[in-house]
């Protein structure tokens, strides 16, 4: 009886009352919004990761980097993977704390959360959120470089024979503009597929030799950013003139990445 009498006194004296139903309802809504928000943000991290991985020029890592390991370290979307893991963890905690969440085993909850996040990630990538987030963060913050900027920086190394820029045509001559300057692409004996790339692409990457007033191209690739398509061919095949006549190849032989490709 002692417990009951003491309890009556406590509840009466301190005027303790049951919390209202709505306060629990608000708490539940809040928890659900954290859970759903974590899935959404986790999905956005997935879509940004897909965008970055999709637009990383894996096939050309040997043109711009000394080793694949360094290239992977530089281009792996670590920040998005960290966000992804944080949101997965939050979503896991949320589902574990729902009314029935504790009934399911760990692997099932983690698997379910991962699946939902991936599905949302793929949907948001195909809706263009991946590029939106990557570019948006790149523009608005100083610590984050978007994939386009990183790709451009890797190819803006004329002393190493790497060029990137916009193409324009004037008097049947092709020009590449970068850093506010225009350079003619020496096209006297240019193979046809180089001409096709120049005609079809707005921006190109060139491995070549900087000469007095232009660039002698040894290899050429279009520079395109894939915004939404998951299963498109994003990495162009290495296009070079390695199989052409000896004179031309010898000229290009001095170019560092070209030599590496032989």
């Amino acid at each position: 009886m002692k417990t009951l009498e003491q309890l009556k006194k406590n509840i009466e004296n301190k005027n303790i009352k049951p919390k209202s139903k709505s306060s629990f309802l608000y708490k539940e809504w809040f928890m659900w919004s954290i859970g759903i928000g974590s899935i959404v943000l986790g999905g956005v991290s997935v879509s940004a990761s897909i965008f970055v991985i999709k637009n990383t020029q894996w096939a050309m890592h040997n043109l711009t980097h000394d080793s694949l390991f360094i290239f992977v370290l530089e281009y792996l979307p670590i920040i998005w993977l960290v966000f992804f893991m944080v949101f997965i963890f939050l979503a896991y905690l949320f589902f574990r704390h729902t009314k029935k969440g504790y009934k399911y085993n760990f692997m099932l909850v983690v698997g379910g959360v991962l699946l939902l996040t991936f599905i949302f990630g793929v949907i948001s990538f195909t809706a263009g959120f991946g590029s939106l987030v990557d570019r948006g963060l790149g523009k608005r913050t100083s610590f984050y470089k978007d994939i386009e900027k990183r790709g451009q920086e890797d190819w803006r190394r004329s002393e190493e024979g790497l060029f990137i820029g916009k193409v324009f045509v004037e008097d049947d001559k092709y020009f590449l503009t970068f850093d506010g300057e225009a350079f003619e692409i020496k096209s006297d004996d240019m193979p046809e597929y180089f001409i096709n790339i120049l005609n079809e692409s707005e921006r190109v990457r060139v491995v070549g030799i900087l000469e007095d007033d232009g660039i002698y191209p040894c290899m050429m690739f279009p520079f395109e950013i894939e915004e939404k398509k998951i299963f498109s061919q994003s990495a162009p095949k290495n296009r070079n003139e390695i199989n052409l006549d000896a004179e031309r190849s010898n000229k290009c032989r001095g170019v560092r990445p070209y030599a590496k490709l032989q």
């Binding site: 417990t3 003491q6 509840i11 009352k17 209202s20 504790y102 085993n105």
Partner: protein
């Protein structure tokens, strides 16, 4: 004042929101059960136990509106008791050095692990009492809930908020560990 004695726990919960008398009936039904449960899973006794019971019943009263009707009330109140006991232990690290689980409770566990008859009953129960408090909390709790409180796997799952499969695993492991501890003390199983 209405007659609440024939009402189920769940009916009393909904009546308690507007009528404290209904809540007092719930308290009467559970105060002894919970007190025993706390003594079985922890070393909390005396004033500490009384304070803890007060905290538990106040928490139950304040949170009446959050009671999930899909759950048994007893599972819900045991869950609150379990959580409050754990947080009480964390806050008050010092408690008595030794503790005795009543012999009749220990007999229930002894029958589960098939102890040889030729040991004196008193010795066995003393050994079980010592060994059960050497187990990790999670193992001691499932043993107490399953064999002393006589809860089903489903109820233990609701009380401890773990999957039913985990309850089964913990019970098996707890029995094995208890047997191991007893064997190390020379009790034949």
């Amino acid at each position: 004042m209405g007659d609440f004695s024939h009402k189920t726990d769940e009916q009393l919960v909904s009546l308690s929101i507007d009528d404290k008398e209904a809540f007092w009936v719930l308290v009467k039904r559970y105060q002894e059960k919970l007190s025993r449960y706390i003594r079985r899973i922890s070393l909390i006794r005396g004033d500490g136990l009384e304070d803890l019971l007060q905290d538990i019943f106040i928490k139950v009263y304040v949170n009446l509106n959050s009671f999930d009707t899909g759950l048994k009330f007893s599972s819900w109140i045991y869950r609150i008791t379990h959580n409050e006991t754990i947080s009480y232990i964390r806050k008050n690290k010092k408690h008595e050095d030794s503790v005795l689980i009543p012999d009749e409770d220990l007999e229930l566990i002894a029958s589960e692990i098939s102890i040889e008859e030729d040991f004196s009953k008193k010795d066995i129960l003393r050994n079980i009492n010592e060994c059960i408090f050497m187990l990790k909390d999670k193992y001691r709790e499932v043993l107490v809930l399953k064999f002393i409180e006589d809860k089903s796997y489903e109820e233990i799952s609701d009380i401890l908020r773990v999957p039913t499969s985990t309850v089964g695993t913990h019970i098996n492991r707890a029995k094995k560990l208890l047997k191991k501890e007893l064997l190390s003390k020379g009790v034949e199983i």
